[in-house]
Amino acid sequence: MTKDHQTVKPAIAGAPPQHLSGGLHVAGQSRFVVDEPRPAGMLFAKLLASPYARARIISIDTAKAAALPGVAAVLTHRDVPGANQIGHAVRDEPLFPSDETAFAGQPVALVAAESEAIAAAAVGMIAVKYQELEPVLTIAQALKQDLLYAPERRIERGDVDQALAKADHVIEGTVASGGQEHFYLETQACRAVPGEDNEIVLYSATQSTAEVQEIAARVLGLSSNDITVDVRRLGGAFGGKERAATIWACLAALACRKTRRPVELRLERIEDMAWTGKRHPYESTYQAGFTRDGKLTAYAVELNANGGAYTDLSMAILERSMLHADNAYHIPNARIVGRACRTNLPPNTAFRGFGAPQGIFVIERVMERIARTLGKDPLDVRTLNAYREGEATPYGQPVDEACHPELLDRLQRNAQYDRLRGEVAGFNASHRTLKRGIGVVPVKFGISFTTAFLNQASALLWVYTDGTVSLSHGGVEMGQEVNTKVAQVAAAELGISLDRIRVESANTKRVGNASPTAASTGSDLNGSAAREAAGQIRQRLAPVAARLLKEKHGIKVSEDRLAFANDRICDPRHPDKPIPFAELVHEAYVNRVDLGAHGFYATPGVHFDRAAGQGRPFHYFVFGCALALMEVDLVSGNSRIIDAHIVHETASSLNPEIDQGQIAGAFIQGYGWATFEEVVHDAKGRYLAVTPSTYKIPTIRDLPETFAIEMVERPRKCSSVFGSKGIGEPPLIYGEAAWFGIKDAIESLADHKSEADLAFPATPEAVVLAAEKLKG
C-alpha cells in the first residue's frame, strides 16, 4: 500500500477496525430476516407465478385453495385495497397483473397459510386460465417493434460524422454482453407484523427502506406513517434488493393487512432465480475513428439495454451506461445514444456497476481493435487515450485529478508486463491445447446518483448518559460494512472508541426518506450525515467540557481548541488532565444540554440536464485498472485465472481492509459475469439456469494464484467524507480483464493476426466455438 500523506483524522488512521458485526457473524449469532424468532401466529406466504411470459388472464379461481383448512387468505389483484401499482420512478408495474402477465414468474396470486406446506398445497389448487400471447424477448425484437421505455437518449459533443470522415482509420462493430444473476446468499424475504391501529412493521430485506415504505402504503391505501420498514442487515444484495425487494415486501404487507396476522414471505432459491430480474443484457453498435498513432478522434455508439417487463431502474441504468461510454478515455467527438427496451423477461434491475460495466465493455473492445488495426500493444493504446488532468467528458464534466497514465504505469510495473508478455508467448509456443493471454482494463467510475436529488442522507445520533451512543443512518448494511465506516466517522468526530457506538437497524421511524443504499454512495452520504450529527453533539459538549476543565483542573482553554480523542476531552497542551467522555456527557445531561442530533447531508454541486445531455452528474471519479493473466484449455473450453493485478486509487481510505475486501469481491463477481455466469432463457422467455446446479458463480477454486491489489492511498481534493472515496461498484468492472485475457489467449491460435469471435460471457462453449472458428 502506498501512502503519500496522512490527511485522515487520527482516530480513523491506525489499525483498521474489524467488522462491526464480525463477532456475531463468525459465531452464527447475527440475525437475518428469517432468523428472528417467529412472532406468535405467524402465517407463511407462497406465490403462484405466471408460467407464461405474456398471457391474457381469463379467469382466476381461488375457491378451492381458500377452502383448504389452514389457509388464511388467497389474494389476487382483486384484493388490493389501494393502488395496484408498485412502480417508482415510472408507475408502470402492478403488484398483481389484472389482465395480462408481463413475464414468466410474475406473481399472480398469493396464499397465506399456517405453514409453508399448506400454502404450497393451496397454491397448487388455484386455477388460472390463460391465453398465451407471443412474448417479446430480445433487444432486436423490441427495437423492431419500437418497444422503448422512453425516447432514445443522447449525449453529444463535437461533430462525430465529420471526425469520422476525416479519421485515418474507421472501424465499426457490434458488441453484446450478457445478463447476470445476483445470487445474494440470502434470498428475497420480508416479514410483515401488524401493530395497533393501521400500523404495520415490515422487516424487509431491502436496500431501499423509504421506497418500500412509500409503496407499501400506496398499495394498502394507507399513509407512509402507518408503515415502518426495518432492516438490520442483508445477506448480500448487489443491487438486487434495491428495487426488486419492493414487490415481496408489498405482498407480505398485503397479506398481513388482510389477515391482521404476521406474515413471512421468503423466496426459495429456485423461485428467486426464476422470477427476479438480473443485470441488463446489452447489444450495442459503434463506429470509431482514430489517428494513425491510435488516438481516438470520433466515437459514435448506440447502447441498447434489455429492460425486461417494467421500467424499474432501466432508465437510470441506461443513463449510467451512457455516462460511462467514454470510460477512461478522452474523446473529442462523441455521440452516445441509449435505448432501454421493453421485453417480457423479469424486469431487469440494478446490479453492482449499474450499467457502467456494459457501457465500458464496448469502448474497451474499441481500444483492442485500434491496437490490432495498428499492430500496437493494447495497453499502449489505452494509455495514449487516457484522460489527462482537466480534460472533459462528453457530457462536459472535467475529469479532475485524472491519473490513468500513472496508474497504468504502476500496473505495468507490478505485473512486470513486458516480461509477462514474453512468458506468455513462450508458453503458447510450447503448448498445444493450453493457451495463455493477458487482459487489461482501466476503469473510471463516477460517484453520485445521477438522479441528483437522491444525493442526500440523514443520521440520528443519541448519546446516552453512560457515554454510549446509538447511531442510526439511512444506509443498509449488506456486507459492504457501511455500518463500520459510518461508525468510524462518528467515533472519530466525537473522539470515542468504536465500542461505545451501536449502529441501529435502518428504520424509517428513525431515519425517514432515505435514498437507496446504492451507487457506491452509502458511506459517503451516510458517513457525512453522521459526521454532521456528531459534530453538533461535539459543539454542544464543548462549552461543558471547557467549564469542567476549568473547574476540575484549573485549565483555561477556548472551546474550539479542545481535543476529543481516546474517549476523553482535554486541552491539547495538558493531555494528562482530561475529562472522561462519560463524565462530560453526564454533566451535559444534568445541565439540560440536548444529547440527540439529526445530521443531514446533501452532496454539493451535482446536477445533470438530461435533455441536453450535459452537466456535472458526479461528485468525483474513482480511478483504477486491472490485469488478468488467463489460461484457456482448448479441449474443454475452460479457462482459469492465474494472476490478477489491480491498482486502485482509494484516496484516504476510511478502512483499507474493507476496501480491499470490496475490491476482491467485486473483481471475482465481475470475473464470473465475464466468464461462466450465463443467463439463458428458452423460446418462451423462461429462465433455464434457475438453481446453483446450473447457474455457476465462482468458487474458492477461482481465486487467482497471485491476487495483487495495490491500493493507492493519497489525499484527493475530489473525494468525500474524511477524504475517502466510494468503493463498492467500480472494481466489478476489473473482471472484464478476464474476458480480454481469454480472447487474447484464443487469438494466439492465429498469431494475433485476426480477431476471435468470442461471446460474452466467455463460457467454455463460447471459447471452443471461437477457437474452432478462428482455426477455420
Partner: protein, 483 residues
C-alpha cells in the same frame, strides 16, 4: 391411519449435549436445527447441496469403530432421522463472540466475513478440515471449501483466514468432543416410531430403516408397487428431488442401517465397493488409490466434499443420470454390479446396466449391494468438461482404459457421459483404433467415429454442437496419451 403421520424418535448429541427429537420422515437436518432447536446460525441458501451455507459437522465412529470423525455435510440434504446416534456440531457449538474458536477468530481478524450469510458454513467446513489435518496445503483448503459459495468476499480474505489457522492444532476440537465420542461408542439406542396427526396439506410418508437385507426385502415386498417407495442411500439425489422438485414418496426406505454394505475390500480380481460406501470412502481408500486410479480421479471430481461425504457410488449408478460421472468410470473399468433381491444375487456388467434415459437393469425390489471393479493394468485417462471447473455437473465426461501391445492397441474402452440418453461406451471410436498402431490419422478417425456415434442434446449445460466438439476433443486427448 389416513390422517396420521409417522414420526421418528431420534437421539443424538448436539454441540456436546444429548438431545432427543421427534422428526418427520421428510424433514431435513437443516429444518430440525433451525426449527426445533432454534440454531439459526446454520443458513439455507439453496436447499439443494450447492451453496454450503447449511454446512454442519457430523461426527460418528468410522471404519468399524476405529476412529471418531467429523465430516462436513450440507444439512439441507441430510434427512433429520439420519442424525440418530451422531454428534452434530453447528457454528453455535464452536464459540461465542466473547470467546471465539480459533477458526472464528481467524475469520474475524482477516475480514473474511462481509454480509455474513455464508460464514458459518465456511467455518464448519474448515472445522472438519482442521480437526483432522492441522497443516493443510493450498489444494486441501480448496477442496474443503469448494462446496461453499460466497458472493461477497471473492474468497481472497477467506483463503487468508483459512491459511492462518495452522498452528492451533490442539485447539480445534471443542472440549466436549471427547466425552461425546466416548458416549457414542456404546450408543445402540433404537429409533422409535410414533404417530402424530397429519398436518393439513401434507401427504403421509413413512420412514423405514431395515437392519438386515432380509428385512429390507420383506419390507419392499409388503410395500409392493415400486412407485410407492424410494430407497435412500446418501440421499444427495433423493433429497434434492424432495426439496426442489417437490417429489413425494409414500415410503422412504433408508438402507444405511444394513450392515456390511459400506465395505470396500479386495477381491481376487480387483476391488469391491459396497453400496453404502460413500464417494469420500472411495477417494480415501488405499485399495482404490492403488488399484483403481481412474476411479479415484473420477470420484474426486464429483460434487463437493460435503456431498461426497454423503453420496454413494451405487446411488450414482442407480440414479442413472446421463451425465453420472461414476457411471462413466464403471463403464470404462468394465465394472460388474452385484444386484440382489429376495431370490438371490445376480451380476450385471456395467455395459448392460443402463437401459435408457434414467432406466436401468434394476428390477422391482432389487438393490445394488456392491460394485466390483477389476484391477487396472494399463494406461488410462479421464476428462470432465463442465461449465465451472469445480463442483459442477459435467457437460461431457469421458474415461478411457487401454492395454498396449508394443505400439498396437490391444484393448480399449472409452466411456462417455453427457452425450446420449445414458452413459455409453464409444464402441465405434474403440474399433477405429483397436489392433492398430496409434498415429494421428487413426486418432482423428476415432474422434470422428466418436462424434458420429453419440447423440447429445441441447440443454443449459451445452448445445449439441458443443457437446459433439467436446466428445471429439476428449477422445483425441485420451488417445494422444497412448502415443
Amino acid at each position: 391411519m389416513a390422517n396420521a403421520m409417522q414420526t421418528v424418535g431420534i437421539a443424538f448429541f448436539l454441540n456436546g449435549r444429548e438431545v432427543a427429537a421427534n422428526v418427520t420422515p421428510g424433514q431435513t437436518a437443516l429444518q430440525l436445527l433451525r426449527g426445533q432447536f432454534g440454531l439459526t446460525g446454520t443458513k439455507e441458501g439453496c436447499n439443494e447441496g450447492d451453496c454450503g451455507a447449511c454446512t454442519v459437522a457430523i461426527g460418528r465412529w468410522d471404519g468399524g469403530g476405529r476412529e471418531f470423525r467429523y465430516r462436513a455435510h450440507t444439512s439441507c440434504l441430510v434427512p433429520a432421522a439420519r442424525l440418530h446416534g451422531t454428534h452434530v456440531i453447528t457454528i453455535e457449538g464452536l464459540g461465542i463472540p466473547e470467546n471465539l474458536h480459533p477458526i472464528q477468530r481467524a475469520f474475524l481478524d482477516s475480514h473474511a466475513t462481509q454480509c455474513g450469510f455464508c460464514t458459518p458454513g465456511f467455518i464448519m467446513s474448515l472445522f472438519c478440515l482442521y480437526a483432522r489435518n492441522p497443516d493443510p496445503s493450498r489444494a486441501q483448503i480448496g477442496e474443503a471449501l469448494e462446496g461453499n459459495l460466497c458472493r461477497c468476499t471473492g474468497y481472497e480474505s477467506i483463503f487468508r483466514a483459512a491459511a492462518s489457522i495452522a498452528g492451533v492444532a490442539g485447539q480445534i476440537l471443542p472440549p466436549y468432543h471427547e466425552p461425546v465420542a466416548q458416549a457414542l461408542a456404546g450408543f445402540d439406542r433404537r429409533l422409535s416410531f410414533a404417530e402424530a396427526p397429519l398436518p393439513q396439506g401434507a401427504e403421509p410418508m413413512d420412514y423405514h430403516r431395515p437392519e438386515t437385507l432380509e428385512r429390507l426385502f420383506d419390507l419392499l415386498w409388503r410395500i409392493g408397487d415400486c412407485e410407492r417407495y424410494r430407497i435412500i442411500a446418501g440421499g444427495t439425489d433423493v433429497v434434492v428431488d424432495a426439496n426442489v422438485k417437490r417429489l413425494r414418496f409414500r415410503h422412504l426406505v433408508d438402507i444405511a442401517g444394513i450392515p456390511g454394505l459400506s465395505e470396500i475390500r479386495g477381491t481376487d480380481r480387483g476391488v469391491s465397493v459396497g453400496a453404502l460406501a460413500t464417494l469420500t470412502d472411495v477417494t480415501e481408500h488405499r485399495l482404490v488409490s492403488a488399484k483403481l486410479p481412474l476411479l479415484r480421479a473420477v470420484v474426486s471430481r464429483m460434487a463437493s466434499l460435503q456431498v461426497r461425504n454423503s453420496g454413494t457410488l451405487a446411488g450414482n449408478l442407480a440414479t442413472a443420470s446421463p451425465i453420472g460421472d461414476a457411471a462413466t468410470a464403471a463403464l470404462a473399468l468394465d465394472a460388474t454390479l452385484v444386484l440382489a433381491t429376495k431370490m438371490g444375487e445376480r451380476r450385471v456388467p456395467a455395459g448392460s446396466f443402463f437401459k435408457g434415459y434414467r432406466r436401468t437393469e434394476l428390477c422391482a425390489h432389487e438393490l445394488i449391494t456392491a460394485i466390483e471393479f477389476p484391477e487396472q493394468d494399463g494406461p488410462w485417462d479421464f476428462r470432465k468438461s463442465a461449465k465451472r471447473g469445480a463442483v459442477d455437473i459435467s457437460s461431457v465426461c469421458t474415461a478411457m482404459t487401454a492395454r498396449l501391445d508394443g505400439s498396437k492397441v490391444a484393448a480399449i474402452r472409452i466411456a462417455c457421459g453427457g452425450a446420449a440418453a445414458t452413459p455409453v461406451l464409444l464402441a465405434g471410436a474403440a474399433a477405429a483404433v483397436l489392433g492398430r498402431e496409434l498415429a494421428p490419422a487413426a486418432i482423428e478417425q476415432a474422434a470422428q467415429a466418436a462424434a458420429a456415434e453419440v447423440a447429445p442434446i441441447d440443454d443449459v449445460r451445452g448445445s449439441r454442437q458443443f457437446r459433439s466438439a467436446l466428445v471429439r476433443n476428449h477422445v483425441v486427448e485420451h488417445l494422444s496419451k497412448l502415443l
